[in-house]
């Protein structure tokens, strides 16, 4: 169904304390975007890669494929930063096109390269969290951070309903395909509209039924789930603290020594 969600339940890091994992990935993420340096990016990419693939046991091929997922945005966005159109050529490259030049500068190239690595490293931090921590554990962490209870309740219900509706949508699509509903482009558009409409109708009907079922079990606005407690280990805390200290010292050093490289 949802690949990342399925993988994270199989991760060997799943039963590590969720607060630790969240703190690690958020702090590392911040270090990446604070420094915006290629070196920090490479270092973080390696560290999270080792943690996710080696420690977590996510297959390497899968991990690389997932990292390439935001590629379209990265490619388009970065090319817009690298390439300029102007009347005066810049220093790195310049292709004449009529009275204008399609051109770029070395500074732009450096910026693009730093951006590329920073973004990839940040995505790898996000993946470390997503591929090791199920959504319910993340919600428990958010609860400790005092996110409004209403929002958390909505998040929990939405998370559950996403799977209900995805299977609804895929069932309908399968039966549409079985009846050649995707025969031509026109018929597949028609099928898509019919599918979205019936998913809407069914989901609203079902939400009423679910509320009835909940209320008959004394639902008062919060689903109380027994939290699984996985206490943080001292060795893990020390490890994370040492890693972050090193990382932030490196960030500060790079900033001090003039310009992130």
């Amino acid at each position: 169904m949802i690949l990342i969600d399925r993988l994270c339940y199989f991760s060997r890091l799943r039963y590590v304390n969720a607060g630790e994992k969240t703190a690690f990935s958020v702090l590392t993420l911040l270090a990446c975007i604070l420094s915006r340096s290629a070196m920090i990016g490479l270092f973080v990419l390696a560290a999270t890669g080792v943690l996710t693939v080696h420690k977590g046991g996510i297959p390497l091929a899968r991990y690389i494929k997932l990292l390439a997922a935001p590629g379209a945005f990265l490619l388009l966005g970065t090319s817009a930063i690298l390439i300029n159109v102007s009347r005066t050529p810049l220093d790195a490259f310049a292709l004449p096109a009529g009275p204008y030049y399609i051109t770029g500068s070395f500074e732009g190239l450096m910026q693009g390269q730093r951006l590329l690595l920073t973004a990839l490293a940040s995505v790898s931090c996000l993946y470390f969290l997503a591929l090791s921590t199920p959504m319910t554990d993340i919600l428990a962490v958010l609860k400790k951070l005092h996110v409004p209870a209403l929002v958390l309740e909505l998040m929990l219900l939405i998370y559950r309903f996403i799977f209900v509706m995805l299977s609804l949508a895929s069932d309908i699509t399968v039966s549409q395909h079985a009846r050649l509903g995707n025969f031509s482009l026109a018929s597949s558009r028609k099928s898509f509209v019919a599918m979205v409409s019936s998913v809407f109708i069914l989901s609203i009907r079902r939400s009423g039924e679910i509320f009835d079922a909940l209320e008959s079990r004394c639902y008062d606005g919060t689903l109380r789930v027994l939290p699984e407690d996985h206490p943080a280990k001292l060795s893990e805390i020390v490890g994370i603290a040492a890693f972050e200290l090193l990382l932030y010292l490196a960030v500060i050093f790079l900033k001090q020594s003039g310009g992130a490289r």
Binding site: A80, L154, L157, I201
Partner: protein
């Protein structure tokens, strides 16, 4: 299938064929780690008032009717699901709706802002669309700017007594387009061009994303209109329960 719906679907087909190569992916979520820290925070702060308003609106709705809770959750899941479904387009390519236009028309923009931010968090964690640091910027463009504009256009269309089909199409189409423009401006402000500054940069980002986003906006508009027509034909009680049908009735009287 009414005559009108048939015409609608013909229009969708012609349009998609005319655009030929359809978009590659939904590339408009700003990626994790792409924006500098100051911009991440600034966009987050800008969207906060809208989120607060949304939360208050939802609280009020729930005080009046507790049953709305599961309904709201289903609506959130609905937005997530339609934004993760592939729109059928020319073979070999796929694209996604933003779904916020439809959401804003059905549920109202304040509610959609909260549902939108939750959906964006799920999209970041479950699908790696967008990210945690770019959450503020994405929230502003997709959960605030797009839906509010869509809803505004929807109200305006009602005022001007346009046909409902046209109104819904314009609302979804312009909402999607506006999201794309806001995202381009967000990127341009963070990465001003060396030749020409932020304005030139905005033009570049608009240009780079145009081939994927323009056809997508048209397709989203047409599909949203078709879905709304379909729902009005078959789902009167359901629409009433989300508070849409009362508007439609009022609209019918006006027109």
């Amino acid at each position: 299938m009414t005559h009108r719906q048939k015409k609608m679907i013909a229009a969708v087909t012609v349009c998609s064929l005319a655009w030929g190569i359809a978009p590659a992916a939904n590339a408009m979520h700003i990626m994790e780690g792409y924006l500098p820290v100051s911009y991440c925070i600034a966009w987050g702060v800008l969207s906060l008032p809208f989120l607060a308003a949304g939360l208050m609106k939802i609280r009020k709705t729930l005080d009046e009717n507790r049953r709305a809770l599961t309904l709201l959750a289903m609506s959130g899941a609905f937005i997530f699901v339609i934004s993760s479904l592939k729109i059928p387009s020319v073979t070999g390519s796929c694209s996604h709706m933003t779904g916020t236009g439809l959401g804003a028309i059905l549920f109202g923009p304040c509610t959609v802002s909260i549902l939108g931010v939750i959906v964006l968090i799920f999209q970041a964690i479950l699908l790696a669309h967008g990210g945690l640091t770019s959450l503020g910027a994405n929230t502003f463009s997709m959960a605030v700017a797009g839906p509010f504009l869509s809803y505004g256009i929807y109200l305006l269309g009602r005022k001007c007594k346009l046909s409902r089909l046209m109104t819904v199409f314009l609302a979804a189409f312009l909402g999607n387009l506006f999201t794309y423009c806001v995202t381009s401006v967000q990127l341009a402000l963070a990465f001003p061009s060396q030749a020409g500054g932020a304005a030139a940069s905005a033009v570049k980002f608009l240009g780079v994303f145009a081939p994927t986003q323009l056809p997508l906006a048209v397709v989203e508009g047409l599909l949203t209109a078709a879905v709304v027509v379909c729902l009005e034909a078959y789902a009167k009680p359901e629409l009433k329960s989300v508070g849409y049908l009362t508007e439609v009735q009022a609209y019918g009287k006006e027109a």
